[in-house]
C-alpha cells in the first residue's frame, strides 16, 4: 500500500478494495517502525487518525465520499491543529496546544483526509536542512548521513520514505521546493495568496505560502484543489478563481515555451546537476516544448534582498513570543523586561535569534532606509525581471538546489547555508508559484528540477510536471531501506 500514490489509493478506497482504517493503520505502523530512525514526525496522532478513518469509511460506504476521503496525510508542525500540539519545531511552542485549526487544515479535513501526525521542521521555518529543530534533526531516507533539506524536512522525509502518501509544507524562500529536491519527491509552492495563511504560524508575512509535498504532480493537484481558495480571515488571501488542477494535467506540451535563465546555468553550477537538469529539459523538448534562453538579470541580488526582508519580517512576527499569552515562560524573572528577554533567549534556538537580531538591526532607526526599504525596491526590480521573462516564455526551468543532500554539520558557515536557496528565493520574492520534481540522481542522491510559473498559473506547472512524470520514473523511486 505504501508505494501507491493518493490517486491510486483513492481509486482503491472507492472500489472498496481496502478501507481507510486499514490504510491508516498501515501508515501508522510504518511511522512506528521507521520514525525513530528518521525523526520525521514530532507528534503522531494515532487515536484521532483511526477515528477519522472510521468516519471516512462510513462516507465511502454511503457513496458520499470525495477524491480525498480517507486519504492519510501529515501536516507540517507549522499549521495549527485544534487540540493537538503545534510546536513549529521550537522549544518556544513545545507546550502549545492549538485552540483552532488553520484554514488549510480545515479545508483538508473537510475533504476527508486523515491526519497521521505533525512533521518535524526547522524552527519557525528558518533553515534549509532541518538541522535547526528543537526536536533534533531529520535524516534523509536516501542517505541517513545527509540532510533532507528544510525547512519542511520532516514532510519531505516522511513522503520520501512513504511514512505518509503526502504532507503539507510551507515555503518562504524555498522550504518546500528545496527539501523536495533533496529528498526525491514533488513539492509545490503556490502563488502567494492562493493558500490561506490563517493558522499557519508566521515567519515572513509577505513571503510565506502553504503548499504540498507529494509523490506526484497528480497528487499535488488533488491536494491543491482542496487547499487553495479565498479566505476572508487572511487579509493577504487573493480572491482568484481556483481551477480544477486535475483537468489540465494532460494538456499537450506542443509549442510550450520553456525559459532557461542563463544566470542559473553558470560555470559555478555543479556540472552533474547541470547535466541532469538539461537532460530533463530535453525530455520536455521531445514532448513538443521549445527551450528558450532567457535572462533574469538581477538574480545575484536575490539572496541579499531575501536575507534582509525575511529576517526583518521575522523580527516583527516573532515579537509576539513574550511568555505571556502562550508558549514558554521564563521562571523567576526579575521584572517584566527580564521576563521577555529571558523567555526569548532561553526558548528560541540560535538560528532564530540570529535572524531576529539581523531583522531588528535592518529595521532600526538609521538603517531602515538603506537596508529594508532599498531591499523592497530591489525586490520590485527582481519581480519585474520575471514579468519580462514571462512575455517571452510560458514557464521557467532550472535547478532547485545547487547541491544534492549534504552531510550533517557540513555547512556551519551561515552564509554558505543561505546560498543553498539561490534558485528558489527569486520566485518567492516575486510571489510566483514554483514546483520541484525529481529528475535524476547523483551518487544515489536525488536531483530536483524546478519549474516556475506566472502568477496563478499552478495549472501549467502541474501539467508540465505531470507530463514529465509520464515519461520518466524518478518520482517512483523509494529509498531501498524503506521498501
Amino acid at each position: 500500500m505504501y508505494n501507491k500514490t493518493i490517486t491510486e489509493l483513492a481509486k482503491s478506497l472507492h472500489k472498496k478494495e481496502l478501507s481507510s482504517y486499514e490504510l491508516t493503520t498501515h501508515y501508522l505502523n510504518r511511522i512506528s517502525k521507521y520514525n525513530p530512525l528518521l525523526n520525521a514526525f514530532i507528534t503522531k496522532t494515532a487515536e484521532q487518525a483511526l477515528e477519522a478513518a472510521k468516519q471516512a469509511d462510513q462516507m465511502l460506504a454511503a457513496n458520499r465520499a470525495g477524491p480525498l476521503t480517507g486519504i492519510p496525510i501529515a501536516h507540517k508542525d507549522i499549521f495549527c491543529t485544534q487540540g493537538i500540539k503545534t510546536s513549529c519545531g521550537s522549544n518556544m511552542l513545545d507546550n502549545f496546544i492549538a485552540p483552532y485549526d488553520a484554514t488549510a487544515v480545515t479545508k483538508l479535513n473537510t475533504a476527508g483526509t486523515v491526519l497521521l501526525g505533525k512533521t518535524n521542521m526547522d524552527e519557525f521555518a528558518m533553515g534549509s536542512s532541518n538541522e535547526n529543530s528543537y526536536y533534533g534533526p531529520v535524516k534523509n531516507p536516501w542517505n541517513l548521513e545527509t540532510v533532507p533539506g528544510g525547512s519542511s524536512g520532516g514532510s519531505a522525509a516522511a513522503v520520501a520514505a512513504r511514512l505518509t502518501p503526502a504532507a503539507t509544507g510551507t515555503d518562504t524562500g524555498g522550504s518546500i521546493r528545496q527539501p523536495a529536491a533533496l529528498s526525491g519527491v514533488t513539492g509545490i509552492k503556490p502563488t502567494y495568496g492562493r493558500v490561506s495563511r490563517w493558522g499557519m504560524i508566521a515567519f515572513a508575512s509577505s513571503l510565506d505560502q502553504g503548499g504540498t509535498i507529494t509523490q506526484t504532480a497528480e497528487d499535488a493537484a488533488l491536494l491543491l484543489n482542496a487547499m487553495c481558495g479565498f479566505d476572508p480571515k487572511d487579509s493577504t488571501s487573493v480572491n482568484h478563481p481556483v481551477p480544477d488542477f486535475t483537468t489540465t494535467l494532460n494538456n499537450p506540451l506542443k509549442n510550450l515555451k520553456i525559459g532557461l535563465p542563463q544566470e542559473f546555468f553558470t560555470a559555478d553550477l555543479d556540472p552533474k546537476i547541470g547535466d541532469a537538469i538539461l537532460a530533463a529539459a530535453h525530455n520536455l523538448e521531445k514532448l513538443g516544448a521549445n527551450l528558450v534562453e532567457i535572462t533574469l538579470p538581477h538574480s545575484e541580488l536575490t539572496i541579499p534582498v531575501y536575507y534582509i526582508i525575511a529576517p526583518a519580517e521575522c523580527s516583527s512576527n516573532l515579537a509576539r513570543y513574550d511568555g505571556i499569552r502562550f508558549g514558554y515562560r521564563a521562571k523567576n524573572p526579575k521584572n517584566l523586561q527580564d521576563l521577555y528577554e529571558c523567555t526569548r533567549a532561553d526558548a528560541f534556538g540560535d538560528e532564530v535569534k540570529h535572524r531576529i537580531m539581523l531583522g531588528t538591526y535592518v529595521l532600526s532607526a538609521g538603517y531602515y532606509d538603506a537596508y529594508y526599504l532599498q531591499a523592497q525596491r530591489v525586490r520590485r526590480i527582481i519581480s519585474n525581471d520575471f514579468t519580462t521573462a514571462f512575455k517571452q516564455v510560458d514557464i521557467i526551468l532550472g535547478p532547485t538546489s545547487p547541491t544534492t543532500a549534504f552531510k550533517f554539520n557540513s555547512k556551519k558557515d551561515r552564509l554558505n547555508m543561505y546560498l543553498s536557496d539561490i534558485f528558489t528565493v527569486g520566485s518567492s520574492l516575486a510571489g510566483l508559484p514554483g514546483i520541484s520534481i525529481p529528475c535524476g540522481t547523483i551518487d544515489n542522491l536525488p536531483v530536483g528540477m524546478q519549474l516556475i510559473g506566472a502568477a496563478f498559473n499552478e495549472a501549467l506547472l502541474l501539467n508540465v510536471a505531470h507530463q514529465y512524470q509520464q515519461v520518466t520514473t524518478w518520482h517512483q523511486k523509494i529509498p531501498p531501506n524503506f521498501m
Partner: protein
C-alpha cells in the same frame, strides 16, 4: 562595516533577547549578512516603488459589526499564568 558590542547589546534590547558577554561574539556574524546587502545598496531605485507585497491589492475592509464571540476562557488556556481573565506579569509599577 563594523558592528560593535555596544550595537549588538542595543539590538538585543530592541529585540528583547538577553545578550550576555559571551553572546556578543556569537552575533558578530550578522555583519557578514549585512555586508551582502552592500551588493544592492547602490542599485538605482530612484523611480522604483518599494514592493512590500507581491500583489496589487489593498487591505480589505469589512462592516463594523460584531461577528466574533467572547472566547476568552478557551484562548487563555494557552497562557501559563492567568487570574480572573487577566494575564499575570511581574510588577511593572511599584
Amino acid at each position: 562595516m563594523t558592528l560593535t558590542p555596544a550595537e549588538i547589546i542595543k539590538i538585543g534590547l530592541l529585540a528583547r533577547i538577553k545578550i550576555t558577554p559571551t553572546d556578543i561574539e556569537k552575533y558578530a556574524d550578522i555583519k557578514k549578512i549585512i555586508e551582502l546587502a552592500e551588493k544592492f545598496k547602490n542599485v538605482d531605485t530612484s523611480d522604483v516603488h518599494p514592493m512590500a507585497h507581491p500583489h496589487n491589492i489593498t487591505q480589505r475592509l469589512r462592516q463594523d459589526i460584531v461577528t466574533e464571540t467572547n472566547q476568552r476562557n478557551k484562548l487563555q488556556q494557552t497562557a501559563q499564568q492567568t487570574e480572573l481573565g487577566l494575564y499575570l506579569v511581574p510588577t511593572v509599577i511599584e
